[in-house]
């Protein structure tokens, strides 16, 4: 009888302990910035600390948006005007690191990630928050820009100056800036004492830590239907980026034109529906998702290897799923009837 009462007391004590110290709730904030909706999830026992960290992130993202905006008047548009005139541009240390990382990623991707084709992106009408319906650009205009072959290889960088040997170079960091901004946001959160958080900018994200010792669980959108096609749990500090043909597009004469322009053809890249990349650095994941989307079914394994990316899922236009072995080991498919191909060896 005595042991039964002791058991009863132990259950009561455990119950009361659980009730008196609940795990911290996720503090969520949504911010309209970077031309998209940024969702910040922060786990911290002190709500005031969480909110203060979100405020710091908001200020940082706003500053990056102002610095690198490709079509509203900004320091970047000023740089582009100077490059078009063949002038050398004075840059600060932060811009140098930003440009150097972008240039290196472009080289590793064989220039498939090409932030120098700003004029081409503008020609397609994607230098706008809200592209109006209308015809695609004329072939002659596309070819004229292609013949000038602008790329990051034309750029010469020193720690204080930027110049270009090609006056057709017009910088647009749409496939890199969001990743860079997320990296900066996570750095700011860490400096604020936040160890568990997700920063999701328009669907691309970096997650650190966990949710009360459970991994963050990420759903990956189906490229051609409602809902998710797969899910993945993050561990430690990981970025999950997807480039898809459903993100920004317009329809004309029954044909859809999306925003991921192949710098080789001057037209939206064909054959790929979406590419998901997991990497610890968000800027790298951002550039890689774009480069691998453009590389397509045949070339993506080679470009991924060159960029140091070993967790990739590419879904082609027929919804066949291609994955690296490392991605296949960790991803959980949420559909039943997919054709799956594992490409390459574990590295």
């Amino acid at each position: 009888m005595k042991s039964r009462w002791l058991t009863l007391l132990a259950i009561a004590a455990l119950t009361l302990t659980a009730c008196s110290d609940p795990p911290p709730q996720v503090h969520k904030a949504k911010l309209f910035t970077l031309g998209t909706l940024v969702d910040v999830s922060v786990l911290h026992p002190d709500e005031a600390v969480a909110q203060q960290a979100v405020d710091i992130v908001e200020a940082e993202l706003a500053a990056i948006n102002t610095q690198w905006h490709a079509w509203r008047e900004s320091p970047l548009t000023k740089i582009n005007h100077q490059l078009a005139r063949g002038e050398s541009v004075t840059i600060d240390a932060t811009s140098y690191r930003f440009l150097q990382q972008a240039q290196q990623l472009a080289a590793n991707s064989d220039q498939l990630f090409n932030p120098a084709i700003g004029s081409l992106v503008a020609l397609w009408g994607f230098h706008s928050d809200d592209r109006p319906e209308g015809a695609p650009p004329a072939i002659a205009d596309i070819n004229r820009l292609l013949q000038q072959t602008p790329s990051m290889a034309d750029i010469t960088l020193t720690e204080t100056t930027l110049s270009s040997s090609n006056s057709a170079v017009q910088l647009d960091f749409g496939a890199f800036g969001k990743g860079y901004a997320i990296d900066r946001a996570i750095e700011k959160l860490k400096q604020s004492g936040i160890e568990n958080a997700i920063v999701n900018a328009g669907g691309d994200l970096r997650a650190i830590g966990s949710k009360n010792n459970q991994p963050w669980r990420i759903g990956i959108r189906h490229p051609a239907a409602a809902g998710v096609i797969a899910s993945v749990e993050t561990h430690g500090d990981e970025s999950v980026f997807t480039s898809g043909n459903y993100e920004r597009f317009f329809d004309f004469d029954g044909q859809r034109y999306h925003h991921i322009i192949d710098p080789r053809s001057g037209y939206p890249a064909t054959g790929t529906a979406s590419v998901t990349v997991i990497h610890n650095n968000a800027a790298t994941a951002d550039a890689a998702a774009t480069a691998l989307f453009i590389a397509g079914v045949k070339q993506w394994p080679q470009i991924a290897q060159q960029m140091g990316i070993d967790e990739v899922m590419l879904i082609d236009e027929h919804l066949t799923i291609y994955m690296t072995p490392k991605m296949a080991q960790r991803i959980q498919l949420e559909i039943d009837d997919a054709e799956i191909k594992i490409i390459g060896e574990n590295r």
Binding site: L37, D129, A226, T242, T276
Partner: protein
């Protein structure tokens, strides 16, 4: 059964609701939506069918709730990406009219995912 047995049963019964709330993770359907208009956020139940008209900087966005789902029906943006997003019904799904700075997210007690990648 002794009095202690009854008390143990009572404790077990009291524990059940707590465990249900903290451990159950199977609820996928959304129960409400969060509408963000600029920096203001409003929660609306998905239980009743109705249509909402929300004014943003470009004009009025029309959001329809029907059969526990929600979608943009009209919006003054040019690209209409928000309308192309279609019906949303699972916790964690969302659509946004960025030019009009209005977004809709489906809420749930226990969403399956902490964040959606797209």
């Amino acid at each position: 059964m002794t009095r202690a047995d009854y008390l143990a049963l009572l404790f077990a019964a009291l524990l059940l609701p707590y465990l249900y709330v903290t451990q159950w993770t199977g609820d996928e359907a959304g129960s409400a939506i969060s509408i963000m208009n600029g920096s203001e956020t409003t929660q609306v139940s998905l239980a009743h069918d109705h249509t909402l008209e929300i004014d943003g900087p470009l004009g009025t966005s029309v959001i329809k709730i029907e059969d526990g789902r929600v979608r943009f029906m009209a919006s003054p943006c040019l690209g209409k990406q928000c309308i192309h997003s279609g019906w949303l019904e699972h916790a964690g799904e969302f659509a946004a009219c960025l030019p009009n700075r209005i977004s809709v997210a489906v809420l749930g007690k226990t969403p399956r995912f902490d964040s959606i990648n797209f």
